[in-house]
């Protein structure tokens, strides 16, 4: 998905009618994200991997902001960096947060992981290309938070409620699994 985004970025950089500063910022973000993503899957230390993941997610937030999707970018920071990675780190440190290289991190599951990664890339990339194709992003008009709120609570109210119930079910399930007594 990152590679796709990078290709599209360079494409619009050459078309000449886009804002130069945005493209430079995108290029820097893309390079940092790719390096951090590669280091995340190759590093021998679980905590380092989680910290590299923070850099990748911060880059995603930066790209959302560059595209004028301010609310989504801020939500990315609040949910993924502020909550999910923190819980990852918390869990790792409570159980096995050893300093230095961790031999167990490098297992034969690697081949499977590559396969899954490629599959996810193909499916998400294909879906994005299929639904948007060559459609250009409207960079001049950033999306307003109020509009997003209105759309979620009118047009998409049923999926939104379904997701809420799903999350609640997951929450209750987690408690049931954790409390065997």
């Amino acid at each position: 998905m990152i590679a796709m985004a990078a290709l599209q970025g360079f494409d619009s950089l050459m078309s000449g009618d886009t804002v130069v500063a945005q493209n430079i910022a995108f290029g820097i973000l893309a390079v940092v994200m790719i390096v951090a993503a590669l280091r995340m899957v190759t590093t021998g230390n679980v905590v380092h991997a989680a910290l590299y993941l923070v850099i990748v997610l911060a880059g995603v937030a930066g790209i959302f902001i560059l595209l004028g999707a301010e609310f989504v970018g801020v939500t990315q920071v609040l949910v993924y960096i502020g909550a999910i990675v923190v819980l990852f780190l918390f869990g790792i440190m409570l159980t096995r947060g050893a300093l230095g290289e961790d031999e167990e991190a490098d297992t034969e599951k690697r081949r499977m992981a590559v396969l899954v990664g490629v599959l996810v890339l193909v499916v998400t990339g294909g879906a994005v290309l299929d639904s948007f194709g060559d459609a250009a992003v409207n960079r001049a008009a950033p999306s307003l938070t109020a509009e997003i709120g209105d759309t979620i609570f009118s047009q998409y109210i049923v999926p939104f409620e379904a997701v809420s119930v799903l999350l609640l079910a997951a929450l209750i399930g987690a408690i049931v699994v954790a409390r065997k007594d």
């Binding site: 910290l51 609310f71 939500t75 920071v77 960096i81 502020g82 440190m93």
Partner: protein
């Protein structure tokens, strides 16, 4: 807002430079004021002693002496520590603090960025500091540090929820996330038809204000919520292995965050840069606005530090019970009540 005409037109990089310098001042000046006024002097007076008296008149230069002392000290990294993560940790905490100041308006035209998401952005970047604390605790290769970081994280996650939920009431009343919009809603609003003092949300959202202050106290990991740095059990928690410059950075981060959270509370609940009785679009507020805001910051910070010096430390289970069983349900009730009243009136 009236358009402000400047005598000189500034290029983008010049504006950015000015913003960066003003941002530094806006973070460090309230932090220094709070440390001298409350940590040095008020705490001393509450304990029947004078506090620092030697450096400058009434010890007012003590802070500079302290900073000079920290700068001279050796920067020690433990032998088993993860050097890169250990050294990066204080920067992560400081970045979170400096990003927070961006959303706070100082007058009708005085602001760093005028973003649509406003307070939501502030709450999002304030959650980054947890990662810095976890990095510090883990990379120190010390059991006290790790235990302190884990306690800090459990506490910050628990109290972030009431912090965000307490703000929701204000957002519902103001009808916007934008900080400038929230100030204007308080300046132009009226309470049951009476508009003489505007509508500072501390009156209609008093429950929200109380929950916000308690959650801020916990977010700052200061007494009575200082389990993460409990000196009788954990030396100083995640700060144990830090010395010199890097300890100073954590210290500045703590008090700068106290100042900025006070500024957030002042803007959300006390009307920010606005004083009742004047026209909120008046150019005058571009001059006196920052001073009014600083006054309100000191007022809120007084409350925060008063609680800090008064109450004894919570136990870990009491601390979690307070967050999950008292503050979160109360703030949810507050949101429902505010929503219902907003629709009815």
């Amino acid at each position: 807002m009236n358009t402000l005409t400047l005598a000189v037109e500034l290029a983008y990089w010049q504006q950015t430079t000015i913003r960066a310098v003003v941002g530094l001042v806006a973070v460090l000046l309230p932090a220094g004021t709070l440390v001298y006024l409350f940590l040095f002097k008020m705490m001393s007076f509450m304990q029947s002693r004078l506090g620092p008296m030697e450096a400058g008149p009434y010890g007012s230069l003590q802070l500079l002496a302290e900073v000079g002392k920290f700068l001279q000290k050796e920067d020690i990294v433990p032998a088993n520590a993860d050097r890169v993560v250990f050294k990066a940790a204080p920067f992560v905490v400081l970045v979170s603090t400096f990003l927070l100041v961006l959303v706070i308006p100082g007058g009708p035209d005085l602001m760093f960025i005028d973003v649509d998401t406003g307070i939501f952005l502030a709450l999002a970047v304030s959650s980054i500091s947890v990662i810095g604390i976890l990095m510090a605790g883990w990379a120190s290769a010390s059991k006290y540090s790790l235990l302190g970081a884990l306690r800090a994280t459990g506490q910050l996650i628990a109290y972030e929820l009431p912090l965000v939920l307490a703000v929701m009431g204000v957002v519902i009343q103001a009808g916007t996330l934008n900080m400038q919009g929230i100030v204007m809603a308080q300046a132009e609003g009226e309470i049951f038809g009476f508009g003489g003092i505007g509508s500072p949300f501390i009156i209609t959202q008093f429950l929200g204000f109380a929950i916000f202050l308690i959650a801020v106290q916990a977010e700052l990991t200061q007494p009575p919520f200082d389990m993460p740095v409990a000196e009788s059990e954990l030396v100083t928690g995640y700060l144990t292995e830090y010395s010199g410059m890097r300890f100073l950075m954590f210290f500045i981060g703590e008090f700068a965050t106290a100042g900025i959270f006070s500024a957030l509370a002042a803007t959300l609940f006390l009307g920010g840069w606005y004083v009742p009785g004047l026209d909120p679009t008046d150019n005058l507020f571009n001059v006196i606005g920052p001073m009014v805001l600083l006054g309100k910051i000191i007022l809120v910070a007084f409350l925060i530090f008063w609680f800090r010096f008064t109450y004894p430390r919570f136990r870990e289970d009491q601390l979690q019970t307070l967050a999950w069983k008292v503050l979160i349900p109360l703030s949810l009730v507050n949101i429902v009540a505010t929503g219902v009243l907003k629709v009815v009136f």
